[in-house]
Symmetry: none
Subunit: 165 residues, 2 copies
């Protein structure tokens, strides 16, 4: 089975910026790091820029490498490539879990998403997100109300089955 990031949970952020990554997510990060071996700690990547500036996004090494490979196919120095590198590489950082399954969010990262002493981890399949709890709730509410206003043929649930490969 290929594990995916699922579920949401709330964690404390201590004075040093340390947060526990949910145990279930750790398993996914381990599977997604080709260099991981039992006894070591998996690496992964956090993207903090991009379109949505209000949360951090965590990717396994494998899934970010996929993106990197695609970007590398674009012509060097092309506008598209520079733009993607800027959003994906410049505004991201390598992370490594520590022995106890934590990462440390630098002052800069905490500031970026307005985090104080708590953080929400939200599984999103191939990636996960880290939110300041209030912002997360707002996001959920916004999502609910925009969903309610959709017409039948805009409903993504209904579109899903038409994509059949």
């Amino acid at each position: 089975m290929i594990r995916r990031f699922r579920g949401e949970s709330l964690h404390k952020v201590d004075a040093k910026g340390r947060v526990s990554v949910p145990a279930a997510f750790r398993r996914v990060l381990e599977e997604g790091d080709p260099d991981f071996s039992r006894g070591s700690s998996p690496n992964f990547v956090i993207v903090y820029g991009g379109v949505r500036g209000n949360c951090l996004e965590g990717y396994t090494i494998n899934s970010i490498s996929k993106v990197d490979k695609l970007i590398s196919k674009l012509p060097r120095f092309s506008k598209d490539r520079e733009m993607l590198e800027r959003f994906i590489n410049t505004q991201s950082t390598y992370m490594q879990l520590d022995e106890t399954g934590r990462i440390v969010l630098s002052h800069r990262l905490k500031e970026k998403i307005g985090i104080g002493d708590e953080a929400i981890f939200a599984g999103m399949g191939e990636k996960f997100q880290i939110w300041e709890p209030k912002n997360y709730q707002n996001e959920l509410n916004a999502l609910d109300s925009s969903f309610e206003n959709l017409s039948e043929d805009e409903n993504p649930f209904l579109k899903l089955d038409q994509l059949q490969d």
Copy 2:
């Protein structure tokens, strides 16, 4: 894992032109220098010419070799080749990190990109850039706004998935 240049950070430039290269970048430079051995300091290349005159670009030895090879494939004496050699070979220089992970930017290089006493390092995958902070911010802003004006089928993120191997 093959590390790439990721992330951005701000560093002081002292009166002698010394700047610390971000520690994460040093690891990439070490891996990308075939002659590097533990205890020594990696070499790399800084390109200061090129289309964009407003920043410096740092390449590992391995990745500049890749570019060199590509250039060598162009017909000798062709206009294209002359131009690229001029930009990539003529307007570039070898650099070596010192013991403490710093390089020194000559007066000439600082002038080239308008640097005073601070510099931004920005990871771009196979290369990194060095910017004067204000110029960098302008670049980011320009990027953001040009991104917002893109139509759906110009969006480089969406184009990526069409490249699917």
